[in-house]
């Protein structure tokens, strides 16, 4: 409509006005091919008019013929660099044709944050892509396309950072750590272990590596090896709640309830909001015969997660703790809660 006003505001020939009107009518009626023919006539009659080119480009754009839209839109902007709407259309058309680098200045001009994020991503500039897509996501937090592109952007940024790390001669330990983490995520535990060992060889005190080794060992139920790794991590990072938790957990698996309680209490002090810690602490306390303290820890789990799988375990443990404490009514209540939580998975009688 703005373009139409621009044209009609000038002194034009009746023939030109006729084609402009016919083109606009055809476009409004959805006959885009007719609109294109009419606007081509307009361009032939008034090639110096930026609005003539914009109208032709806009119809191609509406027809999703982005390749044909580019030339008239470029011509329009050459005649008037500030032409409203033209930058967004040209940027979008270029992006759609795979020319992300060329699209970026036009999308920047149009302040099209979401498209600009995608253009940055496709142009190999993931850090800027992350910034723009995060900004766009604030307005449309559940947009699946935005979420997809943002995850892609983060992934490429991570890859780019890793390549930078790999190219850095001083980054051998971290490179091996990252390769180990990637292998572990892919389920290649043997390869992961090799990378982690290499990381430690390059930098013995590197934090996080022993934790990762411990996780690998734990996944394969190699409890003694896991304990050694978690203990090393806890020594490197005494303020790490996760290291203390993991060490306590594996000590419990090894039947060392008292030692497990000590580590799990430390983990709890470091991060009291972690329900897993309270659960394992409750279990370890129960195993160590400290039923009253176990009850408190298990009730803490239920405060933090009243309906989850952790809650099921907590109720199961409470059932036993209460029976030891000779509180059958409380035990029955815990059992009932466990049964209620498990009910959806129950197999119906046949």
């Amino acid at each position: 409509m703005i373009l139409l006003v621009l044209i009609l505001a000038q002194t034009v020939s009746p023939e030109l006005a006729q084609h402009v009107n016919a083109g606009l009518a055809a476009k409004a009626a959805g006959d885009l091919d007719l609109a294109i023919r009419e606007f081509r006539k307009v361009v032939e009659l008034a090639p110096e008019l930026p609005a003539a080119h914009v109208n032709l480009g806009a119809v191609y754009f509406a027809k999703q013929d982005y390749g044909s839209a580019i030339a008239p839109l470029r011509q329009a902007l050459a005649l008037n660099p500030e032409l409203p709407g033209a930058h967004q259309m040209l940027g979008t058309a270029l992006l759609a044709r795979g020319a992300a680098a060329g699209a970026i200045p036009h999308l920047e001009k149009a302040q099209a944050t979401d498209l600009l994020g995608i253009a940055y991503l496709e142009a190999g500039r993931p850090r800027e892509a992350v910034d723009k897509l995060e900004a766009a996501l604030l307005a449309r937090p559940a947009d699946p396309d935005l979420l997809y592109y943002l995850s892609q952007a983060h992934s490429r940024l991570a890859q780019q950072l890793f390549e930078n790390l790999r190219a850095n001669p001083a980054g051998a330990a971290r490179t091996q750590q990252m390769l180990g983490e990637a292998a572990a995520a892919a389920g290649q535990s043997e390869a992961a272990a090799q990378h982690f060992r290499a990381a430690l060889a390059a930098r013995p005190g590197l934090r996080g590596v022993q934790l990762a080794i411990g996780e690998l060992q734990l996944a394969n139920a190699n409890y003694a090896a896991a304990e050694a790794a978690f203990r090393a991590e806890a020594s490197l990072a005494p303020a790490s709640a996760i290291a203390a938790y993991k060490l306590g957990f594996v000590l419990a698996q090894l039947g060392q309830s008292v030692a497990a309680v000590k580590e799990l209490k430390r983990a709890y002090e470091l991060a009291p909001e972690m329900p897993e810690t309270s659960l394992e602490l409750g279990k370890a306390l129960a195993a160590a015969g400290e039923s009253a303290a176990a009850e408190n820890a298990l009730l803490r789990v239920l405060q933090l997660e009243p309906k989850s799988k952790l809650a099921e375990t907590a109720y199961g443990q409470l059932n036993q703790v209460y029976r030891k404490l000779n509180r059958p009514a409380d035990a029955d209540r815990a059992l009932k809660s466990l049964q209620e939580l498990r009910r959806p998975a129950a197999i119906p009688p046949r």
């Binding site: 043997e190 003694a224 039947g255 195993a287 375990t313 199961g316 036993q320 049964q339 009688p349």
Partner: protein, 525 residues
């Protein structure tokens, strides 16, 4: 007519540090599971073994359950087993400890056409000799011991579908052994599916519906009546594998535990009126300590901590940890971690299992036949192994440690326990999927004693009697483990001066014990 096999030459004494060792040997039996590309589930589940003195010569004999062939015919499954390679086999123990194949002479070559799984034994007619029940896919059958070294195939206690472990117990204390049969899945060949990507593998049980177990009441006149529905057993739909019997709440009536695969375990409390109530969750034995289900396989129901109450051990798959539940007086606590068993078994997959005192130190040890269920698990989970050696975890005052026996890795399934050589030390026989069984003769440095109970008012086996001596408590039963039946006799460690027997019904009897070795005790009025 009998073919003699002397295996003295292949017997080897395993030199191990410490007080306990096994002498190993085998038998000329090869279990035939007949594996197919279709990966039919029964192929990976057999077979079983029973220890019984079928000819009453005072020596335990060995019955091995074979698989069979299995193919989907045009109208129905073809499970014919006429070829001798597919027969179940009975091996008679000779005075020199060698075993002779007496299958045909004993009348056991005429196996019905079903794919064999397990066995249960007990004297169902109180005539003094053990009878035999064989389970399988496509059927099950009861053989009555004629008392002359032969068995008669009966039509009693038919179990449709896929029966696995079974147990003989006198649940109503009428003096006659009744029969409990665990069934695995509501499955047949036509409903088989292929599982696993990219490697075809045996399906997990959650791909198929469960099915109820069966209970048959022995009327004392040679007939078994199906009381599955009336008893309440039929109300619980499970995926049964191992069965073990004991009186967990010490009310004088036997209760039944069923290890279920991939779902809650079952504990059937005997309500003392012919009915059972499933109560595993409230008793604390349905789940792991994380309130998770696991792949229950074999079950052992015995007092591991010498507090006089029967505890429960359940084998399962690698990364699940064998479950050990301590009986705390009618309810149980999960003690796999604190007993040390979790750390010992977390990487193992177990089937047949027993809680018996192998080293005669007065504490029951845990023996497990082991192997993963998936024959290609090493491709799927490279950290795990398909074949595993059988394991013995020695019990030192309630905490377990590995016996470190140098046994070969094999595909262990059923396992039965008893005193093969009447020396007061327990032995084990492990059934091997697709292979020859492993016979393990215990060599303890400390003495032990084996008691043969003979009931008069109770069933003739004395099944359900509780034997107590020197701080040990043993429940008389052939049940427990997986697909298998144990020596009906009771084993005690040491040389206790006297023993107290509480017979089924509650009658107590105190007997002086002469020495180590084998002692026979008759029920007195």
């Amino acid at each position: 007519m009998y073919r003699w096999f002397a295996y003295g030459l292949c017997v080897a004494l395993l030199a191990v540090p410490g007080p306990f060792a096994f002498r190993t040997s085998t038998l000329p039996f090869v279990h035939r599971p007949s594996p197919t590309p279709q990966k039919y589930l029964p192929e990976t589940m057999g077979g079983g073994v029973a220890l019984l003195d079928y000819n009453l010569d005072g020596r335990l004999d060995i019955f091995l359950v074979n698989g069979g062939q299995m193919s989907a015919g045009p109208n129905r499954a073809d499970l014919r087993r006429r070829e001798p390679a597919y027969w179940n086999r009975l091996y008679r123990q000779e005075p020199n400890g060698a075993f002779t194949d007496v299958t045909a002479a004993a009348g056991l070559s005429s196996s019905p056409n079903f794919y064999g799984m397990g066995a249960a034994t007990g004297d169902i007619d109180n005539d003094g000799d053990p009878d035999l029940y064989v389970t399988g896919y496509g059927g099950a059958c009861l053989y009555r011991n004629r008392g002359n070294g032969t068995f008669e195939l009966t039509t009693e206690a038919q179990a449709p579908g896929w029966s696995v472990s079974a147990a003989l117990l006198d649940y109503d204390l009428d003096g006659h052994l009744d029969l409990f049969v665990a069934r695995y899945l509501d499955w047949d060949l036509s409903r088989n599916i292929l599982c696993g990507t990219p490697f075809n593998a045996y399906c997990r049980p959650d791909k198929f519906p469960g099915i109820s177990n069966l209970l048959f009441h022995n009327d004392g006149h040679g007939h078994f009546r199906d009381v599955t529905a009336d008893s309440g057993i039929g109300a619980a739909i499970g995926k049964g594998m191992g069965v073990a019997v004991n009186d967990y709440d010490q009310d004088g009536y036997p209760d039944i535990f069923v290890a279920n695969d991939g779902m809650e375990q079952f504990l059937f409390h005997n309500e003392r009126n012919g009915k059972f109530r499933e109560c595993a969750l409230e008793a604390g034995v349905a789940l792991s300590d994380d309130a998770r289900t696991y792949a229950g396989m074999g079950a052992a129901f015995a007092d591991f901590d010498n507090d006089g109450r029967p505890d429960l051990a359940v084998t399962n798959l690698a990364l699940e940890k064998y479950a050990l539940y301590r009986n705390e007086g009618g309810h149980f606590a999960y003690v796999s971690l604190t007993s040390g068993l979790a750390a010992l078994t977390a990487r193992s997959s177990g089937w047949g299992v027993g809680l018996h005192d192998f080293d005669n130190n007065g504490w029951k040890d845990l023996f497990a036949a082991q192997s993963h269920v998936l024959d290609n698990v090493e491709k799927i989970q490279p950290g795990l192994r398909y074949r595993e050696p059988p394991a013995l975890y020695l019990n030192d005052g309630g905490r377990f440690r590995a016996a470190n026996l140098p046994l070969a890795a094999l595909a262990g399934r059923g396992a039965a326990f008893g005193d093969l050589d009447n020396d007061g030390t327990l032995d084990a026989v492990v059934a091997v999927l697709g292979g020859a069984p492993l016979v393990l003769r215990g060599q303890a440095s400390q003495p032990g004693i084996t008691l043969e109970l003979n009931g008069k008012h109770a069933n003739s086996d004395g099944a359900g009697a509780i034997v107590q001596a020197g701080g040990q408590t043993v429940y008389a039963t052939t049940s427990g483990s997986y697909l298998s039946a144990n020596d009906r006799r009771v084993h005690l460690a040491g040389s206790p001066a006297e023993v107290t027997i509480t017979w089924p019904g509650g009658h107590r009897q105190v007997e002086k014990l002469p020495s180590t070795g084998l002692v026979r005790i008759m029920e007195k009025p």
